[in-house]
């Protein structure tokens, strides 16, 4: 697999002269395994019988969408495709069952309204979790109806945990490939292969998740229950336990009650996170003096002297004003900068591939500077930044490669220092402010119009993620070395705080929407029960405010157990 515009043809005999590294890791085997995993349940299904022929189509559609969701989660930034509401909502639409997809997506979005993958930390794999849960919800045998929703939620939360383990494995594979790449000379032109392999494995992870965690267990469940029902003594009971004839022991839709628990806990957790983001309060941020680069005498090495920044910058968009093919190649590297991510080297391979593209189609002197940067990055230490601010750094590098001044330090220092200093700005703006606000707004709209909630999340998220990258590339181009100081304007500093402070109001709007959309005629016992759920959920969410997976399991377990107790006691569920 190669990315468009990838260069670096191998000279004859070059491979033989390279230092011998460990065995090469092929990016193709996970794809083959993934396809096998998707095909396996189909084979099992064929062995069981021709019933539910449409299930195979659903499984394949979910697998294809799951691959894209996984790519988004691991390699694309992430954008918003992996958010539970979007992943399950679109999955439900693809499967022809939008209502189920939206309901499951809404529930899981309430569990994790704002995940924050800070500095490459691993968050629950919420997108794949939503799709696996949807697969269970749609494909569990019909008689298992009453248990469908809790089973789907359980499968989803188990998948979120599995996704973290899979992420560890894939990061290790990325690190291994990067070690081999370094041992062979670390040519930036070949860093594309690291990104391509990482992207291929991200796609394979999605296929595997649906194939192994939906297709195989459900096919096995059906096969086992058929066998037990037909042949084993006492098989009716065992068959029931495996999903063929669940009794009406559970309420028809436990989610109706559990959603109050999930909403309270999820929103309390988000409130704690928002409080941390806005801890200093909005007022100090608004009145704090904006950062201004220190100016020094011309020629003196100062903070951000104009003399170091090259000639007059071109317009904001000119960083990518090149032939369309080169421009597309550059943007693809920017979008895939996370694809080669590992705990050992972070985004180094992504930046090396980006630097190689920055040198293409240049004058000779600029091309030489780009090659020097490639060597510095490829032979240097781990590099990291927020995926969006990588666009700002690439704009700045583009300018400095094209029109350098008297550079007092290697350009790689801009990536190392700027990557670190820009990351907190972007983490706060994206993970701490904008993304949770969009999620909460979508959740508030959802009870009245599920489709509108989904569309808001998808459209606002994509516009934000892609639009801001384009703006940041232009800003980086104008800023040059000064890009490392981050956004200096008051608005860009205060806006994330304002958004973080908006979250409690949005959380209240979500609760208001839930109350308003509930049946007003419900009896007082049902409302008291909801209040109980709400308090219990809030307390649990508060206790598990820093543990995403613990909260996921607690929300599932407490919701299911509490619903069961309520059912046994004969309390109304509303």
């Amino acid at each position: 697999m190669s990315l468009p515009g990838g260069g670096g043809e191998t000279a004859p005999g070059e491979r033989a002269q390279r230092p011998r590294g460990p065995a090469r890791l092929s990016p193709w085997w996970p794809v083959a395994l993934g396809l096998l995993a998707v095909g396996l349940p189909a084979a099992l299904r064929a062995a069981i019988g021709p019933r539910h022929a449409g299930d195979l189509a659903i499984l394949l559609l979910l697998a294809a969408w799951g691959a894209i969701v996984s790519l988004d989660e691991r390699a694309l930034g992430p954008l918003v495709l992996h958010e539970p509401l979007v992943a399950a909502g679109v999955g439900g639409i693809l499967a022809g069952r939008p209502a189920e997809g939206l309901l499951l997506g809404f529930t899981l979005q309430l569990v994790w309204p704002g995940l924050r993958p800070l500095g490459g930390s691993r968050e629950p794999a919420a997108g794949l979790a939503a799709l696996v849960g949807l697969g269970w919800y749609l494909l569990l045998p019909e008689p298992g109806g009453p248990w469908r929703f809790p089973a789907a939620l359980g499968a989803a939360i188990a998948t979120a945990s599995w996704g973290r383990a899979a992420e560890d494995l894939l990061r290790r594979r990325n690190a291994r490939r990067e070690e081999i790449w370094s041992a062979r000379g670390g040519e930036a032109a070949r860093a594309d292969r690291l990104l391509a392999a990482g992207a291929a494995e991200a796609l394979a992870r999605g296929l595997l998740a649906i194939g192994l965690l939906v297709g195989v267990p459900l096919a096995a469940l059906r096969a086992s229950s058929q066998i037990l029902r037909g042949h084993a003594p006492g098989g009716a009971f065992a068959g029931a336990a495996l999903g063929v004839s669940w009794s009406d022991f559970m309420p028809p839709e436990p989610a109706v009650a559990a959603v109050w628990f999930l909403a309270a806990g999820g929103l309390v957790r988000q409130a704690f996170a928002a409080r941390r983001e806005g801890g200093g309060g909005l007022t100090p941020a608004l009145h704090a003096p904006a950062f201004r680069p220190r100016r020094t005498a011309r020629g003196e090495e100062g903070a951000f002297p104009a003399a170091q920044e090259g000639g007059r910058p071109e317009s904001a968009g000119s960083a990518f004003r090149r032939p369309a093919r080169v421009r597309a190649a550059l943007w693809i590297r920017l979008l895939l900068i996370q694809a080669g991510f590992s705990q050992a080297f972070l985004q180094r391979s992504g930046f090396a591939a980006l630097a190689h593209q920055l040198g293409r189609g240049r004058r000779e002197d600029a091309s030489l500077r780009a090659r020097a940067l490639e060597r510095e990055l490829a032979g240097g230490r781990a590099l990291n930044t927020h995926p969006a601010t990588a666009a700002a750094l690439s704009g700045a590098l583009d300018r400095l490669i094209e029109a350098p001044g008297r550079e007092p330090r290697p350009l790689s220092r801009l990536v190392e220092v700027g990557g670190a200093t820009l990351a907190p700005h972007a983490d706060r703006a994206f993970w701490g402010a904008a993304r949770p606000c969009i999620a909460l707004a979508a959740l508030a709209i959802f009870p009245f119009s599920p489709a509108a909630g989904l569309m808001l999340f998808l459209a606002a998220g994509l516009v934000l993620e892609l639009g801001v990258r384009a703006l940041l590339a232009g800003w980086g181009r104008r800023a040059g070395w000064a890009v490392a100081a981050g956004p200096a304007g008051r608005f860009s500093r205060a806006a994330p705080l304002a958004a973080a402070r908006l979250q409690p109001a949005l959380s209240l709007a979500v609760l208001g929407a839930l109350v308003a959309s509930s049946s007003p005629g419900a009896d007082p016992a049902a409302w008291a029960l909801r209040g109980g759920w709400f308090i219990l959920g809030g307390l649990t969410g508060g206790l598990a405010r820093r543990r995403g997976m613990t909260w996921g399991w607690l929300s599932w377990g407490a919701g299911a157990a509490g619903t069961l107790i309520a059912r046994i006691l004969g309390l109304g569920m509303g």
């Binding site: 950062f291 820009l422 983490d427």
Partner: protein
């Protein structure tokens, strides 16, 4: 009252520190103690500008921190950031003993390093330094983010022993194969 956090992280101030740790320990000041940053006005200005709202960043060289860290010990909300184990070892020789211990939060791969934990990579020299620091009673612990697993002295010593054992086995194995 004591220092809010002392962290060893080769990225110094970044998202995990500013958003992951800072709010939880009520950070008011991020003190970057690093000779390289202190010596470069551009780097210093860049880090100063990265201060989260309501906080400020100060950049000191190691000698200044060694001389003045006790004055900071009563300053609530100070987070000290160090680039690596060598810097910490140099400070430790001057009597640097923060009561809250020292968090190992991020040492990434570079030529000659081996993985101790997914977020900690050390050379053989650094592993010897780490072993000495662990025995010195400095209160070292490894933890990437609040809420994530924490590895205290004994766990780190066990990991070091396992890593060195693995390295020795690797050397033996490769020798036997020749």
């Amino acid at each position: 009252m004591s220092l809010a956090l002392v962290r060893v992280d080769d990225r110094l101030l970044h998202g995990q520190v500013a958003l992951g740790w800072g709010p939880g320990v009520h950070a008011r000041v991020y003190l970057i103690a690093d000779d390289r940053v202190a010596a470069d006005s551009w780097e210093r200005a860049a880090y100063e500008a990265a201060a989260p709202p309501g906080t400020r960043v100060e950049v000191w060289d190691l000698a200044r921190l060694a001389a003045r860290w006790r004055d900071l010990n009563g300053a609530e909300g100070t987070v000290i950031l160090l680039r690596g184990l060598r810097e910490l070892a140099d400070l430790e020789k001057t009597g640097f003993r923060p009561p809250s211990g020292v968090n190992l939060g991020g040492l990434h791969a570079s030529p000659g390093t081996r993985e101790l934990l997914p977020f900690l990579h050390v050379t053989m020299d650094e592993s010897a330094i780490l072993a000495r620091l662990l025995e010195s009673g400095l209160g070292l612990y490894a933890q990437e983010l609040p809420g994530r697993p924490r590895y205290d002295r004994d766990a780190l010593l066990a990991l070091l022993a396992a890593m060195e054992g693995g390295a020795a086995a690797g050397r033996t194995g490769s020798g036997a194969g020749r």
